[in-house]
Amino acid sequence: MAEQFPALIIVVPLIAAFFIPVIGWWKKQLCYPWVVAVLVVTFISSLGIINTIMTTGKFSYRLGGWAPPWGIEYALDYLNAFVLVIVSFISLMVAVYSKKSVEDELPEKTAPFYTLFLLLVAGLLGIVVTGDVFNLFVFLEISSLSCYALIAIGEEGAPIASFNYVIMGTIGACFYLLGVGYLYIATGSLNMADLAVILPNMYHSKIILVAFAFFTVGVMVKGAVFPLHIWMPDAYSTAPSAVSALIAPLMTKVAAYVMIRIMFTIFQPRFSVETVPVMTVLGWLSFIAIFAGGIKALAQTDLKKMLVYILVAEVGYIVMGVSVANKIGLTGAILHILNDAFMMACLFLVVGAISYRIGTRDIHKLHNLNKIMPFTMGAFTITALSMAGIPPACGFFSKWYLILGTIEAGQWAFAAALLCSSLINAVLFFRVIECAYFKPMEPAYANDGGETHMVQRDEAPLTMLVPIVIMAAGIILLGIFSGNIISSIIQFAVPASF
């Protein structure tokens, strides 16, 4: 059973997605439980995978029984099993959450929405699980296509944002495909493990260099790494709230995973760090990203826009951890993939719940929100503290390792950037918290009532609240147990070449 999980984790959501139009045509209400059930199976599979890896070590799954490098292989190790768990868990949470928000925002489009939702998840899981560079491209396109469509049905301005995303995303995907082509020309192989064996003999080759450049740029576009993030703020902030909550945390994290995979598994750190100055460039780009994202976020009054720009900075964190290219920095980067996925998901879920209940996302109109939605705001506060790097929330710990990594690499400026960024985050979030908790009453909410209108508690519906609370609790627990996570998973997930 355990060895079938890698196939199940892709096939189940894929096949299930094919059935949704039928189910939706029969009974629309069934789509939601179906998706949740499927994602539960996926989540269990991912747990099965990581459990197998922790007990018996890494393994691979040959699709159709063909031996690599001729057939396609799913290579499971600590790194992608770890990311699989993140992706499947967060998508499960967002799926649970999506019920009311889909009913509210897309009442007529339930069935196709959930079909694409599931396809998107399947695509992301496929990217993570596969051990074949071309297969990765196919899954990348599945997730991208569903992403384009899901974004396009968002609010005003979404189609144009989505179109820009199509253009940039296609450039990114095509660059990736070119990279694959160049590697194929130079080596004749498409299998990651096989490539990792062949490549070290040809590091002097210009073809390899060009392939590496195309890979890097392609992944940077997909992962919204500064300065190729330009498509991202509009696209993510105009998407329907359930969609932003899914793609904002996951798309960027999966791209970060692909980046780590390419730079440190397919290529050796020896090449990525020494032969080409790409690490230095990436490091400084993320340095700029952290500040640019933070400053742009300061200029926003729309909560969701603010989060999107924070995401630019957060991606910068991960890339910075990758760019210092030492064990502890990479530990921080991988830990931050987990932590940031949780934090971003929680924040976007909260924002979705707020706009569902209050109907606004303007940070100056959130007065008394702690009285209206105490649990939601509690979760928001926990996440905000985590973003500002306050222990014991998880954000502190990834920052700690990232800072250790930058210090070890002797990059003082990067360490300073990380610290400044948490201060910027603190300013950003305390603006909101101050407004929601401490500003004297103003008739922003239900302003048709009298001046002494007593604020009624009006918490988000349970299907929204439960995922939010789980994520917030997760943020604290991840912080407290970060030591265990690192010692049992992440230290093995860091590529062995360090």
């Binding site: 296509l145 005003e156 301005g157 296609t170 095509c174």
Partner: protein, 132 residues
């Protein structure tokens, strides 16, 4: 030098095509033109892949000759057939490219429904005027 250009002319052609496509995608104002640029870009990649499958010296399409079937696999001459793998990959890539174009066209329809134009600067102007 001539060898450098003529011996690898396939790469030169696709490089040029790709630059055209990339420029159109980013530089053109009309959304459909951008899309056409995207198609040129993708076609360039497809050509590039296919060209890597070519073998000179009498190789033919990778379909086994009728009589070769009886010979058993030892007899099959590798040099006699083109490399099948790029073709396979490109079949997939073509499908992906078509699908992307389809989705992009659907988005363009959405945009047209809302703004009644496909010129990027006009859309921006409309959005600015309506204050969104």
């Amino acid at each position: 030098m001539l060898d450098y250009v003529i011996g690898k002319y396939n790469f030169w052609i696709y490089a040029v095509l790709m630059m055209i496509g990339l420029y159109a995608m980013m530089g053109k104002k009309n959304l459909v033109k951008k899309l056409i640029g995207m198609n040129i870009f993708q076609s360039a990649i497809i050509l590039f892949y296919i060209s890597t499958g070519v073998k000179t010296g009498g190789a033919t399409v990778p379909i086994l000759m009728g009589h070769a079937q009886e010979h058993g696999h030892q007899a099959i001459d590798v040099a006699g057939y083109l490399n099948p793998l790029p073709h396979v990959l490109m079949l997939t890539a073509i499908v992906v490219s078509i699908a992307t174009t389809g989705v992009a066209l659907a988005i363009i329809i959405l945009i047209y429904r809302r703004y009644n134009t496909l010129e990027e600067n006009e859309i921006l102007k409309i959005r600015k005027d309506t204050g969104v």
